[in-house]
Amino acid sequence: MIILALPTYVVRKGLESIFRELCTQKKIHSTANIQELNQYIKDSETRLVYAHSSFIPDLQTNYHRKDSCKIVRVIDEKPKELLEEAFQSDILYLNDDEQSIIKNIKRNIALTEKANEGSSEESELSEREKDIVREIALGKTNKEIADNLFISAHTVITHRKNITKKLGIKTVSGLTIYAILNKLIQMEET
């Protein structure tokens, strides 16, 4: 989830539409309200926040969150002496040129997407993961799989999570069909 918190209506809506153009993620919320913003920051689904500098003093970021949530400061004007400064992804200057703004947003979106899906590029199963799919398709429990493959039950669970991420298949029956279609097991074995 991406949150855009800015007091000015036109700016908020403008930034929101740029985000919608640049990213496929559906969950983009915009707000002009600091309480609402703090509520969103607590939510573990929130991965990226663009907060206007006027909100920063009241921002509550000091509670415990396991996963990261990046906060980008939005500043109205880029100070003149900084004009030549190197690119910074955690500050967005509203009066910056189109290219720099797009670059900033793209960079940060890419960061959140990585954090979201792990390696979303990779979808090929590893040999070990194929072994696990085979076992799942044969109806084995996590414990049995762990014993058969000489790994810990915890490792089995981690593998299963990665498999689901890679294939987009969550259920045992779904994985069974995948295993058959990809000849990891024979139809007669099920």
Partner: protein, 242 residues
């Protein structure tokens, strides 16, 4: 966009046609001419506030924004949820099934592979029926009972026991996710069945699945985010009063 009382019903449908089954379940059938939502609800004796809440919850997924739980009637929610179940059983599930059958009959791919899909859906159907049955036979009656007791402010002994042993939160925790399998089925059709010469019939199955999934998501959200919190509050009040 929010749907408002002065809007023409036809415009709401043009805005998002997935609302069609939703308004049907709320008691409005096609052929309403140029009437506004308010006029139409008046004519049919439908509670307009409830109508707007359900429709907007369907469009804007953030229920907390679109619903004010204080003045929602539990009876109305249950009637709507039941009508939705009915619609799944009579329309949407058979629609998916028919399309899977058509796919199998006309496919140029190995029959066996498509039979996997058919069996998968068959299995899903059984889980789906069981889910609905459990809700209609246990959960909804319990919900209505709590609501009634809360209204008259009187808590019978056996209801007290039910609240203590199986509060609505225990249903919420176990409320099985019936969308996962649909999600898998979609990916199998999109990604993993072998390529066919023509995808039309496969598209047809997918369209029906996407539609069912979308509707089901809305239904589960109403169960989890409207029904459960409302009943949970009532349970606490009843427990306090005795």
């Amino acid at each position: 966009m929010f749907i408002t009382r002065n809007m023409k019903m036809a415009d709401a449908i043009h805005h998002n046609h997935l609302l069609l089954p939703v308004i049907n379940r709320l008691g409005i059938q096609l052929g309403f001419g140029d009437l506004s939502i308010e006029q139409l609800c008046d004519e049919k004796g439908i509670d307009i506030d409830f109508f707007l809440m359900i429709v907007n919850a369907f469009l804007d997924h953030d229920i907390n924004k679109t619903m004010k739980l204080d003045n929602v009637s539990v009876e109305q929610v249950v009637v709507y949820l039941k009508a939705t179940h009915q619609y799944y059983l009579e329309r949407m599930i058979p629609e998916v099934e028919n399309r899977i059958n058509a796919l199998i009959q006309h496919s140029d791919i190995d029959q066996k592979q498509f039979l996997l899909v058919k069996n998968f859906f068959e299995e899903y159907k059984h889980e789906f029926y069981a889910h609905l049955k459990h809700e209609e036979q246990s959960i909804y009656p319990y919900v209505l009972e709590v609501n009634q007791a809360n209204k008259i402010g009187k808590l019978e002994e056996d209801l007290l026991q039910k609240i203590q042993n199986e509060p609505i939160d225990s249903y919420a925790e176990e409320h099985t996710d019936i969308e996962s399998k649909l999600f898998d089925l979609k990916n199998i059709l999109i990604k993993y069945l072998p390529e066919s010469k023509d995808s039309y019939l496969r598209n047809q199955v997918l369209n029906a699945l996407f539609k069912l999934e979308n509707d089901l998501n809305d239904h589960s959200r109403i169960e989890n985010m409207v029904l459960v919190p409302m009943i949970s509050v009532m349970e606490n009040e009843l427990l306090k009063s005795c």
